[in-house]
Symmetry: C2
Subunit: 275 residues, 2 copies
Amino acid sequence: METPGLRHAFFVSDRTGITAEMLGHSLLAQFEGVQFKETTLPFVDSVERANEAVRQINEVARDGLRPLVFSTLVDTEVSAVIAKSNGLYLDCFQVFISPMEQELGVSHSHEIGRSHRVRNTNEYHSRIEAVNFCLAHDDGVSTKELHEADVILVGVSRSGKTPTCLYLGLQYGIRAANYPLIPEDFQDMKLPARLNKYRRKLFGLTIQAPRLAHIRNERRPNSRYAQLDNCQYEIDRAEMLMREEGIPFLDATNRSIEELAATIVHQGQLHRQSF
Amino acid sequence: METPGLRHAFFVSDRTGITAEMLGHSLLAQFEGVQFKETTLPFVDSVERANEAVRQINEVARDGLRPLVFSTLVDTEVSAVIAKSNGLYLDCFQVFISPMEQELGVSHSHEIGRSHRVRNTNEYHSRIEAVNFCLAHDDGVSTKELHEADVILVGVSRSGKTPTCLYLGLQYGIRAANYPLIPEDFQDMKLPARLNKYRRKLFGLTIQAPRLAHIRNERRPNSRYAQLDNCQYEIDRAEMLMREEGIPFLDATNRSIEELAATIVHQGQLHRQSF
């Protein structure tokens, strides 16, 4: 039995489905009162697979409300099959092709799988290298190549530096190092000496104390490290230090990793290697 | 001076711009003969910022061909400003809202920034935890929590396991460990003993020898490790071992990180924690 009022949404793609998911997901997020169940149908790259997808969509349509079907299919034959399902077909790809063809004066290639293909070995390579750089320069473990960093994230332990650095590497090909601000730094209210010459590359993350205490408690339960008052102290001092040193910083508490990374790229005017 | 025939494309968003970039980028990839210069204008969340964006778009339009403008703007007032620029306006958001409203019988919230907001703390948390898990179980460094892994990637050194694991964590909230297959494993053609009880979680990556030799050479120039014949030997043995052990595997050579990750989720029927 279906939950009454539950609405299914399908993301149909001939490749990974990531684009369809992201766009569809932000559209669904506009309808707060509705409960959605989301299903991605990736690699729908033949009429046969399209028929199988239609079977899945129609099964849901039979038992409940009409599902929403977001599609980024490139092949017109394949998408025509999906368009005939019993869902509400929302074409997020073909619909733009025709005005683009008109504007550009050329036909599109109809070739699927072009979006995430390794189009450019250099670009791909720079993402992998950026990830390796992040890993080698995580949590201040190495400072020997900090001059090669595009950005160095600073902040108290567990403020979200590592996942943000990794996202900067994976999504943007940016070499992001991170360096923790620790109680010793707060005693003399000075930046770690090693960071002094990279001042212009620094970007800070901060976080609200209750959230930080929660995160730290999972890691080291009942430790001084995780206590709320200690978290609050570290955060206050870290923010004061970053203000004094003129380091721009963001509050990570209510921001997603994507948002933190995109904001750092934007505000820091970083040169991205990858789209 | 503009390069003749160069076409500018703008991705305009009220938040990160990642969705607009991904969709716009796959659309542009359909027009192989055209050379594009891509610019993301993120955080366009007011009429004032929209006017600034229009100024940038019109500057390009004045000096060359009409730019393409992909927009995922939620606010109708803001998007109306962009729509009046001298670019070809391609609305990748508003255009879907009206049929969705009709289908769902409710109005959308008009609230921006809903897509990447930390909607669900649990989901966010699971992504961060998955990344931490990847880092703790990278390159076989720890095997103590392999029972908690959703998937364990195996393959020769530098076949792309680490970035794929990290992407699985960041994008899908999947706990992905990785374990290298090393020359010792090829001598007796057996899986590392520690992996035996997790056989059903294993997924392999392979790579073509010239690419692997190139990657390894950057890491350890002129080493035996990086020599083409050694790479070919390791790859042949690893593939043979994976076939014998019934481990599914993918060739990473011509696949993007996104594609590898999405294929592993799909083929492995992994339960994702995050959209």
